[in-house]
Assembly symmetry: C2
Homo-oligomer: 276 residues x 2
């Protein structure tokens, strides 16, 4: 018996999320079906983070036990070969039998991407949340620092109580500004033969792309909708409605109705799950 750990990236747009549900196709379902085909066994996956519908992953981790003797590298290629192109197997590793993708995870890193520009970016629609009013990322970053440490975060949990405890530890929180959606805003190549009119235009067309805000959070665990509710709360700070110090007050009051709204799923990425 072997225990295999898979590191995955996926575009969550087409899926109902990680977990199997009646209303559409789940990522877990697609993977388990492909793994069963490869191993000839019934496969049940354990997972680091059960991402919601429309949420993406850059470094999701799952694990399963198998009697298959296919070496890791060949296993990876064979699995990729039968998976749809919106799920990428980044790595297959053999891990000790006591490794559990959910419970062995020390912490998880989520990133939320906001397209913060007046105009939309047609190519970022499925990959960022378009917020068209200017946000102050410095004050949002200051507010995010108020999240650090161990707190009862039930104020950011959509369906409380659904866990034994809503105490979590946030290890890292950062709000940074990234410019452009580079492949689409790349400078024009220089031309071997001139093709542009010498009569220069008065003003160039508005560029495609714009400013992206990344909200990165690392914690030992996350409550249901916690990242998306924190982002909605930070947006209120970034708009100037709330102060960074309000974050600590909201956490203390433990009341979901005092926090911001839950932002949409397409801006959210599970970046990494970390194990010992």
């Amino acid at each position: 018996m072997r225990n295999l750990k898979l590191t995955l990236a996926y575009d969550g747009t087409k899926y109902v999320g990680w977990q199997i549900q009646s209303n559409g196709q789940a990522i877990q379902e697609v993977l388990e079906r492909c793994l069963s085909r490869l191993t000839g066994e019934e496969v049940k996956l354990l997972v680091a983070g059960r991402t919601d519908s429309g949420v993406h992953a850059l470094g999701q981790v799952c694990s399963f036990r198998t009697n298959s003797r296919i070496p890791c590298h060949g296993f990876r290629d064979a699995l990729q070969n039968i998976l749809p192109d919106d799920i990428l197997v980044r790595e297959v590793e053999e891990v000790p039998l006591d490794f559990h993708a959910t419970f062995s995870a020390k912490c998880k890193h989520y990133r939320y991407v906001i397209l913060n520009s007046k105009y939309p970016n047609p190519f970022a629609q499925r990959y960022a949340y378009h917020y068209h009013v200017a946000l102050d990322s410095d004050v949002m970053h200051a507010a995010a620092q108020e999240l650090l440490g161990t707190h009862d975060f039930r104020c950011f949990e959509t369906r409380w109580p659904n866990k034994a405890t809503s105490v979590r530890t946030i290890l890292h929180a950062a709000v940074t500004r990234q410019t452009g959606w580079p492949i689409f805003t790349y400078p024009q190549p220089t031309f071997s033969q001139p093709y542009a009119s010498p009569r220069a235009r008065s003003a160039p067309a508005e560029p495609i792309g714009g400013e992206f805000l990344w909200i990165d959070l690392v914690a030992n665990g996350f409550l249901y909708n916690m990242v998306r509710t924190i982002v909605g709360t930070l947006i209120r700070v970034g708009r100037g409605y709330w102060e960074p110090s309000d974050i600590r007050r909201i956490i203390k009051q433990q009341d979901r109705t005092l926090a911001g709204e839950t932002v949409p799923p397409q801006g959210l990425y599970l970046v990494k799950a970390t194990y010992d």
Copy 2:
């Protein structure tokens, strides 16, 4: 009466293409409906390039006549406001009455994006053609230079004869390699508190992203499927099946069956249309 010129970017994934068809929604249709709402007039759009289903645009140009007196800047914002987010209005300009988006175009610039990596990129699926065998971009670039100049390009036309003439002039042709799909391959941020295990992993997981090949072509006009057939032909050169010098031979023989296959639409972008 005014003549207005629109510069557009769009994600063509959801559309049947520019031109109105019975089997789904066309970009022209969506725009004309929104323009009619704004102007109260029936609007008929002229266009630089009728992109096919799944083909994208970074700088499509169209024009229409109107009696509306809305200033260009306000017109742009009002139009964007009622358009779906996968169509971006980059610019609205008033142009002379004799400006014709189709016939006044001096040249058009198309780009074809190939994801040339062994593994897929889940986020590039709608925006590039995944070709998993290594292509030699230098030899493809050399082959592309054989296209330059004025030739009868019927060998690259899917439905010949559908034009009065299949003679066109290619002004620029380049094959370049671009690394990464930057927003998803960005280095991890540095952490204010350590969260990674000190026990370093033997090998990092395969990065998401990979190598992109851009095939840029500028011509005074393009035949139906011409870019996609040229790309299919250049791929055969990049695989080593054909030599760069075969390009000139294929053009001379004027036989579509001697050229390469037509590559899929999602890698194609109308980058720019140039006017005097």
